[in-house]
Assembly symmetry: C2
Homo-oligomer: 639 residues x 2
């Protein structure tokens, strides 16, 4: 009998002794980090709301209770009872019964109503029918990503359970090492922006944190060295993803091509956004005639192997490692990632990308941990002069530009990243129109922006507190405002917009390197009454950067529109700073200096050479921290 089986036998005995005698336990297994308890008496379990909580406290495990299949009423009979119990206002859109595990997935417009006060309604469901309910939100805006992910996971449910059982046994394996140490190896994003990737290793466990591409370059993280995947992709025990931007996520699916078949821990929105962005990554590569490093099958593998965690859930991901995600304020689902190693041995936090101040979309990054000895800190705007314009000033400047353009009868075109900045701008525009600061006019969303927004509305819990409240409890979803229009009619629709009344266009790509923004420039570029407004960072080498710096002759796709191959841009060009998703130098310092307790060591990463050096020496001199500016391919040992 393996050590895990012995462990489960012992747990089963302990659970039986803790529970009232009339509750039978038929099986106890691990599924990923959860301990699953099968009972023939799910209804009795559900009657006492404290039972599961008390058990979880005693066993120090995350616990799921499932009915033994013999204890279930049929789906048909259960369906009616469940719909009776749930108040009609919940807006149930789907019920999906899984007889193998006794789970019923309830999709509803208002999951909170299905859950009830402190889970009261859920417990009533189990008391009535025995089934274990699981609730998901019906996207208020239809999202093909969300619905594809959900139906894919439904279809792969059996495979996924095998994966979870395997991962569960792996997490709870016996440790073999007779000594303890903690190390971080940098595989990318050191003294550069992009290709974020680290190995966090202990004597027992090796965790890959992020695995991104490097925009504007073909460089990957150093996966080929022995301390990365050189000893085989399965020398990695777990992958942890801080957020979905491609410079952190693009090469996660590649790991599965290399043979990795372990878990990916991330938040649920990050899982969906990763699906959206990596599929687009493949699409762009194909359109540009490059061979992508993996195909869409590997994206599906990544999604199938993802174990989503909520902010604040302390989760065992290895015998000696507990993982907790915290809001990072950067994009939807982005996480500051905290690792507790050993039994009080050491604590490491990876900031991922952070925004320290609250924005319209997100609360500011969490920096409150019981203990952190080492912080791995992003440094994108870590340079000594990297102070950003105040967002209030930025909004005023944007509003002025819109009003002036509107007065001239022109259109405002804003190249924007699909995830994060577009939704921030939507909130700015919705409020400005609602409050009359700009005239009400259509805001056209082109490229992946609409889809990304749909994913945001699926996970309102991940948005800023008051925004989430408005959406969940006041039925005021600003993303559903009438002004927003999804461009889904191709160039015909774009031409109509261009020929029509004043309007605002948000379109990808954010750095004018391709995508529908090229069409908008063709349509409106020669109109001197219209305005092109840059709101995001334009990297060296991109067309956006060149236009921002004065270039007006731009290449257009001659074949498609049958015109000459360059055009002269006559529209007004403006730049509005201050909408960054990254903390500026002040924000980074504030993030560190308000930590309590302070970390002993800070590794400054994810910034160009100057930024990491400036931030590293600034934190050392002003805040007396031991700071480092690692190079790629270095290994630091902390204990």
């Amino acid at each position: 009998m393996s050590s895990v089986d012995t462990q489960l036998e012992e747990l089963k005995a302990e659970i039986k002794s803790e529970l009232p005698a009339d509750i039978s336990i038929t099986d106890v297994t691990y599924e990923g980090p959860e301990l699953v308890i099968y009972t023939r008496d799910p209804k009795r379990f559900a009657r006492n709301g404290d039972l599961v909580r008390d058990l979880a406290g005693t066993l120090r495990k995350r616990i799921t209770v499932r009915p033994d299949p013999t204890a279930l009423s049929t789906p048909d009979r259960a369906r009616d009872r469940i719909l009776d119990v749930i108040p009609e206002e919940a807006g149930v859109t789907d019920l999906d019964f899984h007889e193998d595990t006794g789970e019923v997935v309830i999709e509803a417009e208002k999951p909170g109503v299905v859950i009830g006060n402190h889970g009261e309604t859920l417990r009533r469901i189990t008391q009535e029918v025995g089934w274990t309910p699981e609730v998901v939100r019906t996207p208020p805006i239809e999202s093909s990503t969300v619905s594809n992910v959900r139906s894919f996971l439904k279809q792969e449910r059996e495979d996924r359970r095998d994966i979870l059982e395997r991962v569960g046994r792996q997490i709870h394996r016996e440790t073999l090492a007779d000594e303890e140490w903690v190390r971080i190896t940098s595989l990318g994003c050191c003294r550069e922006v992009g290709r974020a990737s680290f190995i966090l290793s202990t004597a027992d466990t090796r965790i890959l944190v992020d695995c991104g591409d490097k925009p504007g370059s073909d460089d990957y993280p150093y996966l080929q060295v022995p301390e990365a995947l050189g000893a085989g992709a399965n020398s990695i025990d777990a992958v942890v993803l801080t957020h979905a931007h491609l410079d952190h996520s693009a090469l996660i699916p590649l790991l599965f091509k290399y043979g990795y078949d372990g878990p990916i821990y991330t938040t649920e929105p990050t899982r969906d956004l990763m699906g959206l962005l990596t599929l687009d990554y493949l699409d762009v590569a194909a359109k540009e005639g490059r061979t992508p490093p993996y195909d869409s099958e590997m994206v599906r593998e990544a999604i199938k192997h993802t174990i989503p965690l909520d902010y604040g859930d302390v989760t065992d991901i290895a015998p000696d490692v507990k993982l907790t995600f915290h809001n990072a304020g950067h994009i939807l689902g982005s996480a500051v990632t905290h690792f507790h190693i050993g039994d009080g041995l050491y604590n490491v936090a990876f900031s991922g990308d952070i925004h320290y101040e609250d924005t319209r979309l997100f609360d500011g990054a969490v920096n409150d941990f019981p203990r952190v000895e080492t912080l791995v800190l992003e440094s994108t705007y870590g340079g000594r002069n990297d102070y950003q314009t105040d967002q209030e000033d930025a909004e005023r400047k944007l509003i002025d530009a819109i009003n002036e353009t509107h007065d001239r009868g022109g259109k405002v075109v804003i190249p924007a990243f699909a995830v994060g900045r577009s939704q921030e701008l939507m909130l700015v525009l919705e409020e400005a129109m609602r409050e009359g600061k700009i005239p009400s006019m259509p805001v056209h969303l082109d490229g992946m922006i609409w889809e990304a927004t749909a994913i945001h509305t699926t996970y309102p819990e991940y948005l800023r507190d008051d925004l989430s409240d408005r959406i969940l409890h006041e039925d005021e979803n600003p993303f559903l405002a009438d002004e927003f229009n999804h461009i889904d009619g191709g160039d015909d629709e774009r031409r109509d917009v261009a020929d029509g009344d004043p309007a605002i266009v948000l379109s990808t790509s954010g750095m004018v390197t391709g995508g529908p923004i090229m069409s908008w420039l063709e349509q409106l570029g020669s109109d001197p009454d219209s305005t092109l407004v840059f709101v995001g960072y334009q990297a060296q080498g991109t067309l956006g950067h060149r236009i921002q710096n004065g270039r007006r002759e731009i290449p257009i796709d001659g074949d498609r529109v049958g015109r000459s191959e360059t055009m002269t841009l006559k529209m007004d060009v403006e730049t509005v700073d201050g909408f960054s998703g990254h903390a500026d130098r002040q924000g980074l310092e504030n993030f560190v200096k308000t930590m309590n307790p302070r970390p002993e060591k800070v590794l400054c990463v994810h910034g160009d050479e100057r930024s990491v050096q400036d931030l590293s020496s600034g934190l050392y001199h002003d805040h007396h921290l031991r700071t480092f500016a690692p190079k790629n391919l270095e290994t630091f040992r902390f204990r």
Copy 2:
């Protein structure tokens, strides 16, 4: 056709074009780092002494010329001609013909006479018989180690040629990496003394430097981590050994048990001493009832895979790495190890263990390199107060102790390490007797000391210049002095010595942890006229340390001598400092500060926590170097 084959074809063509038309080239191959040229005209080659040197310069390779087998006279005929050519005073003791390679190994008492002025006699041999001569010294004191190694290598000659050919192709393989970097990973001996081991890695090549045990502990280097052997023992391209002491060499044979089958680069005396010491390591483990980590077969594998290099030979050991050994002054064959990486990319030197000042046995460590950006420096005596007694004072003190003991009619017993310190003491004693500073009396050598001394006399070129001159050119070998007696008659002989006239005994083990020294204590321990003199470091936990610190009740092997199990030491106990094989703090500083150019970075290793920290901060403050005190399992990147 592989890239190496193409390379060899091109070299063959180039060689033909460089040579006179009447010299035919039949084949060109690599054997280890050497380019071997087969010719049907070995005699013509030999006639022009500059040909090979010029070719080596043009091709920038180490070149060996061998006769095509068809060009050879028979061994019988060749033997007589060779003995005619070599002057009789050379003292030829063996001729060994290898028809497969056309080599003849000449063993002689005076190899210099066989070689002749600038190799003149060797060339004459080839001119006369076509065979390629190779010369080795007949050990002046018979050494079973040397003769075993030589006969083993003779027996394994074919296997060895296969190994060398494989290694040669590996060294000259095409490089694949499209970028360059240089890293050092510490697998042991950081903030501790013992288990020396590092990985030096580039984008193309991984080299293991040393692989030792940790005296007084069961700790091995961290070989199991992915960046060591985790990706398989053959992810290592080459092993380099700085010297034979077990804390650098003990686990080299283990690599072969793990499946390594690449080369070990070291000096010839280090190869032989490694054989002696690792076999003794297995022996001691067996006697103490421990299971040794490998068996003697693996020691033989290590010897078979060794490619010996002389001090100063610049040798290609990988497509992007050149290795050069320099005298380290520590023990016979010990080397400061210099790596030149890439085409001028970077230079790293590992000090190994060093003695900076000249001793009686060795010239001081070489610290003169064209370039060194990073120095990895031993720190055994790096502490702020680690200044050693002057050796002159130490010798005076030792002489006083001997004279006093002699006057009382007692014996002097000196526990000593077999390799290094014993030979240093032999030189001190021989001179003192010759100059009348102490009376002439027998010096008994017990344990492995005699064998280790025999190995020293086999390689006089590795001894201090004037000592080597005395031995080679003045026929004055102090190790052959009449006073020295090899104890080979066991306890009977020891009892006779103990019962006889005043005498000096040098015996292993150096820290009184076992070996014949235990017998000497039993024989002489109760004699108040005799003296026990400690001349070497006594580690915590050893019996030597306890006696040095005043303990007089010592355990003895009751079963063997039939007496009680402890005895009371009544002999005088003295400690004489100043015979260390390690540089003291001043020596380490001198080694670094007289380097020209100075290294940019110094990694202080191989010392306890306090010593490495003291040395690191001392070199930083006083000499303005960037210094580090690495932990085990860290990786530093330099380029």
